[in-house]
Subunit: 224 residues, 2 copies
DNA sequence: CGATTATTGATAGTAATACTATTATATTTG
DNA sequence: CAAATATAATAGTATTACTATCAATAATCG
């Protein structure tokens, strides 16, 4: 199977990590470490030790650790969009398309061999726990000007446009989808840490329940 | 008018800031500073300078700046719950109650003179920008065991129970409400910084539009 | 009212973080 | 093979997030 890479916004990095061995090590190991340590306890120094490199070398790839996080999560959204395209490409009916999108979002993420050096299960956990930190910062407007949130926005726009195919007069499409994109991850976080805030439970079936919840919210909202 | 205070969980602080002048200064000024600087750029040292005290003194009230944030946001949820009680106390009809809750959540927050030394407008902006940071941390389970999220949970439970009055067989009440509580703030953030992710617009009318969106989502979800 | 106790201020210090700078050593490329 | 480029090794800085100590002040209590 071919190994794929995504063309991510150039402002996310100083040197493209996909092009070199060191860059790939940085990506691979940082996913594992952020997942394990959490973003606040993760540092370039610790990362450097684990990949037998140096802090200074990592700084040649990423301006700072926050941009690395934004990079990883941007990668995630590009991956999601790619999978949405595959899952909906053969579908004619818009409601089917929307259901496919929701299913994909709610789904447990398993290793996708088309993408070496990124552990998608770990990355999914990072998105669950750290997504909001990418934009909840005073630098959000500068980041946005540089286009660093394009991945997220693109997925949002794509699914919102499916909603407008189903109901062209629905007024809250972009709000509804951004809500779903964020809550999809948040509910999984609550499921693990604050279960009284969610109805999806804590067992294996939570992915199915999450899908049912999303379907309930989205289809009823737009078909009124 | 009487000045009210909330009894917040004791694990939120080391010394109760509501009881002393220094404590009140810490609360008042930290709200203003976190709003202005953002949580990451806010430090106890800077705060100490502005209230003419010292870092060490502030550390006698709060273990660290994260717990101060959790304290402030906990205060916010207690305030919201208090206002929900007032707004729904005289209502008989459950749908009216639910609408009153949503209106209150979506509403622009104005200064409430019953609570001195807390600038609610600034605090609302803090909740919009920093809420998720209170629980998106590796320490979430310890915090939760200490009951630090009681305020949030309590509001969630209260509104979820109104939903069950309307439709006792609705299965996703707690998920629906936690989604609304979080998205209510998130959409306002998007409105200001990432407007393509929201349909509520960027003008003064965004609070009304947010309410309409919430009503659309909630009432359609539960009345199916 | 004076003595005890609690609270705050002043000051100092530490380990870790988030970088930047410099130079030497590999490695690649033309 | 020479030149350019990437990386490693090392050092250094300002800031952060604390902790510790002790003196000064304010509150309270017998």
């Amino acid at each position: 199977m071919a190994t794929l890479t995504f063309k991510l916004n150039e402002h996310l990095y100083l040197r493209d990590p996909q092009h070199t061995q060191l860059g790939q090590n940085i990506i691979q190991k940082s996913v594992e470490m952020i997942d394990r340590l959490g973003f606040e306890h993760f540092t370039f120094k610790k990362l450097a030790e684990e990949i037998n490199s140096t802090e200074a070398s990592i700084y040649r790839y990423f301006e700072n650790k926050h941009k690395l996080l934004v990079y990883l999560i941007s990668w995630y959204w590009h991956w999601i969009e790619y999978r949405i395209d595959i899952a909906t490409g053969s579908l004619q009916n818009s409601s089917d398309k929307l259901r496919a999108c929701l299913r994909l979002l709610a789904q447990e993420k398993k290793y996708d061999e088309a993408f070496e050096f990124v552990n998608q299960e770990a990355l999914h956990r990072i998105v669950i726990a750290e997504l909001d930190k990418t934009y909840l910062t005073k630098g959000v407007d500068d980041y946005n000007k540089e286009g660093l949130f394009r991945g997220f926005k693109s997925v949002n726009r794509k699914i919102a446009s499916v909603i407008l195919e189903i109901n062209p007069s629905y007024e809250h499409a972009s709000s509804l989808i951004s809500t779903i994109l964020v809550t999809g991850h948040q509910q999984l976080f609550f499921s693990e840490h604050l279960p009284s805030l969610t109805a999806i439970g804590t067992g294996k079936e939570r992915y199915t329940k999450l899908y049912e919840f999303m379907e309930n919210v989205v289809f009823n909202a737009i078909q009124s």
